[in-house]
Amino acid sequence: MTAVARLRGAVVAPLLAIGVAGLLCAVALLVSGASPWTAVTTVLSQLGSGTVAVDTVNSAAVYYLAALAVAVGFQMRLFNIGVEGQFRVAACVAAIVGGTVVLPPVLHTLLIIVVAVLTGAAWIAIPALLKAYRGVSEVISTIMLNAIATGMIAFLIRPETFGELRGNNITTPPIPESGWFPGVPVGSGTIFGMVFVAAALGVGYWFLLGRTRFGFELRASGESTTAASAGGVNARRTIVVALLLSGAIAGLIGLPELLGRDHAYTLSSPQGYGFTGIAIALLGRNHPVGIALGALLWAFLDKSAVALDVVGIPREIVLIMQGLIVLSVVVAYELVRRMEQRAEQRRVAAGTPEPVGAAS
């Protein structure tokens, strides 16, 4: 009974939110003079054309990693806003190392992954130590390191350091084929191999948080630091490990595209995944399955923006939709929570024997 109720709560709230967001978007489209029906058919039919379906899954994997990185911190009420910087520095350094060394196939890929993970963790080590030993807010320090990351990357990929000039773009030396992560061809596209790594990480995340002592300590510290400390949890160690883990996962965000498609880090390499990850972690309520669904939805909406733009419907509608979904999910969860609370209160009230004389 309680399990069914909980599932209902978890499913009803987001569906409600998406429904409300969709309705509001339809209104926005009507106001702007575009047809919501054309929008819906365009958005759905795009999945069948070209590589859009495959691209959606690939992007979702990237978003999934980003949201996992954020969620690990969220579990302990730590806001790692620096996922963006961690992933970009990690992708850049991994691309440079991968394009420079010569190794046999599997080892080469593994080395790139390890370098990315270590770089991501190293980039967050500064805020982690500052937080644990000096009480510096991780929000501030990770944001500031994002700005430093931009400068760092600009320095690293200059043609004078590790970059190469290609046309008007600068790229890191291309990673030879031995360093690529093979994918699964589907139709005319290719599902990145890293998609499966991301899925495996989701399972690992679930196991770590729900089934290990460390996960328990992490969540306990998130609920109440003082109570956890009183219970024997080493707060400093938990903070440092949680943030390092977050940074390590963040280091992987750039790899699906780097190892599966681009094979080099360039001036025009994508940005913003770290911030998208925050929204998706909120959307998925830090739950590995919820995040996966959120990531898929977000990726699908992203691709829809391109398709809508091409048929002449303002693509900004997708941004509105994404913003509305996050907002209404937060509101919907709160509503559902209150409704359940009231139902629970009524149930308890009904279950208790009523005072004598109150009945009439």
């Binding site: 795009q46 054309s49 070209g50 590589t51 859009v52 691209d55 690939n58 992007s59 990237v62 931009t150 400068g151 990357i153 600009a154 320095f155 990929i157 200059r158 043609p159 000039l165 290609r166 046309g167 008007n168 773009n169 600068i170 005319s188 595209e257 498609r261 681009d262 001036l267 025009s268 390499s269 994508p270 940005q271 913003g272 992203d302 691709k303 923006a305 391109v306 398709a307 733009d309 091409v310 002449g312 693509r315």
Partner: protein
């Protein structure tokens, strides 16, 4: 006791080093202040322009107009899209001119725009969807589309593609539309050096990328060709990879104000929408600025500040787009220039406002010298 002594000695040593460092800095500062070979401040020694026989510098004749009424043209913009008063708007103007002059149907054109920070597959999908819907030619604006054009042009070998600002895609159905930005920048650099009253000028680049460095390189070469002793302050708004510098008027104002404070009286702004900030700084400081890409003196968004825009380095993306559509319609794509430069009116300087009227003979002389190959303009600073 012994410890105290050691600290004392080390303290003195540190003081000595500090004093020496400060002295050295002060001396260096003095050296810079009095630099310039003893000429009084504001007086530039200027070199006369080379003279080139007029017939060796003839511009190419204009192409005949073809009938584009049967074409369906797809245009994929860079971030900002139509309405950015800069790069993308220039491409849009080229398309509009093709509609007005070549009989291209407005309904047969389609425009799509990139989002900031988007992944590569978004650009690829955009081009693919345009091609799928039968748009031919498809024009990609900006080098970010290089991989996308490479992928999609192979999937649609019967469709014509063009890409602005990139020449790395080598396919029979892809036409690169690249520019000699350094040549136009040379001329506005010369204009700045001919006009400055303080013998100091500035350069504000949007993003410290190879493309914008071409503007800086030409500008500096042009300025030093006129006045070898001129002082040039070159600054960029954002580092490579951070494209916010093209869209940050506030920081444009700060950087330009810093250049004007340190003595420059003309700054060349190659910073997309951030140019507006540079113009605002020039207006506040009572100095001049040089615009970029289009004739910014005539830009409707800039009427408030246009009196500070003495000239603009024009990069005719509109000419390239128009010429390309014309060439596709007339089946003469192979005859398009390899690079749009001074010879084919692909780059140049604007004269609106009349600020450069008195130095036009010199500028035309430099233009002729570059067109004749007498002056080679480097594309790296």
């Amino acid at each position: 006791m012994r410890i105290d002594q050691r600290i004392g000695r080390r303290g003195r040593l540190v003081t000595a080093i500090a004093v020496m460092a400060v002295t050295a800095l002060a001396l260096a500062g003095c050296a810079r202040d009095t630099g310039g070979g003893g000429t009084a401040q504001g007086e530039c020694e200027r070199v006369p322009p080379p003279s080139v026989p007029a017939e060796s510098a003839q511009p190419e004749p204009e192409k005949p107009k073809a009938d584009a009424s049967a074409l369906k043209v797809g245009l994929a913009y860079d971030i900002g899209g139509r309405g950015d008063a800069s790069f993308n708007d220039a491409a849009a103007a080229g398309l509009d001119r093709a509609v007005a002059e070549l009989g291209l149907q407005k309904a047969n054109t389609r425009e799509a725009t990139a989002q900031p920070g988007e992944s590569e597959d978004a650009g690829t999908t955009r081009l693919r969807q345009l091609a799928e819907q039968g748009f031919d030619p498809v024009i990609a604006v900006g080098f970010n589309y290089a991989t996308g054009v490479d992928t999609v042009a192979k999937e649609f070998p019967q469709t014509q593609f063009a890409i602005v600002d990139d020449d790395t895609v080598d396919l029979p159905n892809v036409t690169p539309l690249v520019f000699a930005e350094e040549q136009g920048s040379f001329l506005v650099g010369a204009a700045a050096a001919l006009t400055t009253g303080t013998c100091a000028i500035g350069f504000v680049g949007g993003v410290d990328s190879p493309l914008i460095q071409k503007f800086e390189a030409g500008y500096e070469q042009g300025a030093t060709a006129v006045a070898p002793d001129i002082r040039i302050n070159a600054d960029y708004i954002s580092p490579a990879g951070d494209f916010s510098g093209f869209n940050d008027a506030t920081r444009g104002t700060e950087i330009a104000a810093g250049q004007y404070d340190s003595g420059a009286d003309i700054s060349f702004a190659a910073a997309g929408q951030s140019n507006q900030g540079v113009f605002a700084a020039a207006q506040a400081a009572g100095t001049r600025a040089i615009g970029v890409d289009s004739d910014q003196y005539n830009s409707p968004q800039l009427t408030d500040v246009r009196d500070v825009i003495m000239t603009s380095m024009i990069k005719r993306v509109d000419v390239a787009v128009y010429d390309y559509v014309n060439a596709v319609a007339g089946n003469t794509v192979d005859a398009l220039p390899e690079r749009f430069d001074l010879r084919n009116d692909g780059v140049g300087y604007s004269t609106s406002g009349g600020f450069v009227d008195d130095i036009r003979p010199q500028l035309e002389a430099y233009k002729a010298a570059i067109m004749a190959g007498e002056i080679q303009v480097s594309s790296t600073p």
